[in-house]
Amino acid sequence: MEQLKKIIQELTISESDKALILQQLKGIEKTIAIAEFKYNRTVLDKAAIKNVLNASIQEIEKQKKDIEAASNEISQNLIELDAQKKIIEGKNIELNKAINKLKSTQAQLIHAEKMASLGELTAGIAHEIQNPLNFVNNFSELSNELIDEMNEEFDKGDIEEAKAIASDIKQNLEKINHHGKRAADIVKGMLQHSRASSGQKEPTDINALADEYLRLAYHGLRAKDKSFNAGFKTEFDESLPKINIILQDIGRVLLNLINNAFYAVNERSKKGEEGYKPTVSVSTAKVGDKLEIKVADNGHGVPKNIKEKIFQPFFTTKPTGQGTGLGLSLSYDIVKAHGGELNVESKEGEGTAFFIQLPCP
């Protein structure tokens, strides 16, 4: 370029032409410089872009491999999770089996409890049946003798006397029939108690039910243990209406509470405290829109530390073999199922009272 400039200077042309040519040459020089610059920069940029993009591609490929590895790991984890799921499913089946077995055991236990309370009743029932049977036996023996006497009067021809004796026999037969019916009623009650609950509610005279079970329990205990001696009182609100209950179930609750009460007073009685009069009282009353049955005793009372536990299944203070520990627990469930409540109040050394509250319209 410099050489070119020299040549132009040496040309025999006008100075203005020279200046014009040199000016154009300067423009050409800049164009060449720009072209050179663009070329060099493009080469560098190309290399830089290539480097960055290659590195990016490598990085993306690495990330792709990482993702594949992670994906494989996830697949592996899924397989393991599936296996664990199967194990858990197997365990679930075993657990369900165990639950079913527990349910059947529970049913058996409830049945056992029912049978146990039936056993407690048996003696009382036997005592109750004994009385009418004695009547039946005595009156039938007496009637037998009266028929012999009547026949003698026929032989004598005294028809009036024979008729008088026949009238006595009729009265005896009526008495036999009456006591036979009573025995039948008692047996019917026993069957009702042992029968599976019908689940049907029926209008029931609570006072009669409480009285019946009080006496059954008392005589049952007396029959089993000659030394047993306790007094009982009743205080029934005669104005109570009949309420709808499942007879067998509430009957079992009453029997359970009354038996417990007698057991409690008997235990205290055995201690031989002077002037102690073992007493169980059963009372009924209307409290607001509830019917309340109170079963109270003057036994030792429930110690505070076990008060919370008495409604728990299998909890019992009785010696092994004498109680299942299910009585109060089942009673609680039965009362709850009737929409009622079962509560306890107790003072150590003074006694215990259970309150059954049932809905009463």
Binding site: A33, I34, D45, A48, V52, A55, E59
Partner: protein, 380 residues
């Protein structure tokens, strides 16, 4: 307000050009002086002290005057702006945040509606602290400017005024916006490339590792085209600065961060602005050769808010100089022709301004323009 540009390579030349410029009765109050570190700044400020002209000065990595690109020279814009329409602020301290804080307080106490043009010296400062420090006091006042440079020697840059000079300080022109319309825009043109990378270790503006690899090694791997790694300043200048990291900030602003220095021992790169640890970045490459047209087009948007101008100030990244080479002067020329008024500027180590669709921020690789126009007495 009238503006006249003069340039010179020594004090005698400057004095002579000043005489010519003032021969018609033109009486400047303010001189914007951008000069190479090789120039004798003391002689220049002494001269202007004598003439009772305020000086707003910075060292450069190349000077811009109208449509010419200079090296090893002083370019000066003389303005006959009324003294009550501007104030010069300067303060030197290592605590960039604190002095920017003070600058904002100064601006607020000077005018009801100030506008600020600021230049900071310091090669290793985290220039983002200028923005943070200023915004801690005032988020509304427009802020424009750049980082002083030192001809890529990486020995020290300076800002200066009549009786002030600092290698770690600020100098600022605070204008009364009710009297002087000040508008600005920063535009880059660099495009991101490749996949996102993570800054795995950094403190302020020093980046130690990128994706757990030493930052220098990453840049060397991609952008090292010279053989020696001993002359770190040259490596930066010739290679790295043109491939800045694009950083998306928490406020959504996208900014470019160019490496300014290398610490060979810790294999760390010192950037002009902060890059928080954990942030995501991408590399970016130099724009195509249509950059000049694109930049001019973007700057021309300002014509709607400031159709007439008295003076133009350009803070252009040194990396643009590298990227545009012999075409750099064309960029200045085309932008100047938008208003056809005197343009003064220099090649910086960083720019402050408002990019498209973002708030004021610290940038690299941008051309940050400031346009001044005195408002007429009855308003603009």
């Amino acid at each position: 307000m009238k503006a006249k540009n003069i340039f010179g390579e020594n004090i005698d030349e400057i004095k002579s050009k000043f005489s010519q410029a003032t021969s018609d009765g033109f009486s400047p109050t303010l001189a914007i002086v951008f000069c190479s570190i090789n120039q004798n700044r003391k002689e220049v400020t002494d001269f202007f002290n004598e003439k009772k002209v305020d000086v707003f000065g910075s060292t450069t990595a190349g000077e811009i005057i109208d449509s010419e690109v200079m090296e090893q020279s002083s370019v000066i814009m003389l303005l006959d702006i009324k003294k009550e329409h501007y104030k010069v602020f300067h303060e030197a301290s290592e605590d960039t945040f604190k002095i920017s804080n003070n600058l904002a307080l100064f601006a607020q106490s000077s005018f009801v509606n100030p506008s600020v043009v600021v230049v900071s010296s310091g090669l290793t400062i985290d220039a983002e602290q200028i923005i943070k420090g200023f915004h801690a006091v005032d988020k509304d006042t427009p802020l424009y400017g750049g980082l002083a440079a030192d001809d890529l020697t990486m020995k020290g840059s300076f800002v200066f005024s009549n009786d002030y000079e600092s290698s770690t300080g600020l100098i600022a022109l605070v204008f009364d916006s009710d009297k002087i319309n000040v508008q600005g825009i920063a535009t880059s043109g660099w495009d991101n490339i490749g996949i996102e990378k993570t800054i795995t270790r950094s403190v302020g503006n020093v980046v130690y590792t990128i994706d757990d690899e030493p930052a220098v090694d990453v840049f060397v791997k991609y952008f090292q085209f010279t053989e020696s790694v001993d002359n770190t300043a040259e490596i930066i200048a010739q290679n790295f600065a043109q491939y800045p990291l694009q950083l998306t900030k928490e406020n959504g602003n996208t900014v470019l961060r160019a490496p300014l220095m290398v610490n060979i021992e810790s294999r760390a790169l010192i950037f002009a602005g902060g890059i928080p640890e954990g942030s995501k970045v991408k590399f970016s490459v130099q724009p195509g050769f249509d950059l000049i047209e694109k930049t001019t087009e973007r700057v021309s948007v300002l014509k709607t808010s400031i159709p007439e101008a008295d003076a133009l100030i350009m803070f252009s990244c040194k990396a643009r100089h590298m990227a545009l080479g012999p075409m750099t002067s064309d960029e200045a020329g085309m932008i100047r022709s938008l208003w056809d008024k005197p343009l003064i500027g220099f090649f910086t180590y960083g720019e402050i301004g408002t990019a498209k669709d973002s708030t004021c921020d610290f940038h690299n690789e941008t051309c940050s323009m400031v346009i001044l126009k005195e408002k007429s007495e009855g308003g603009n």
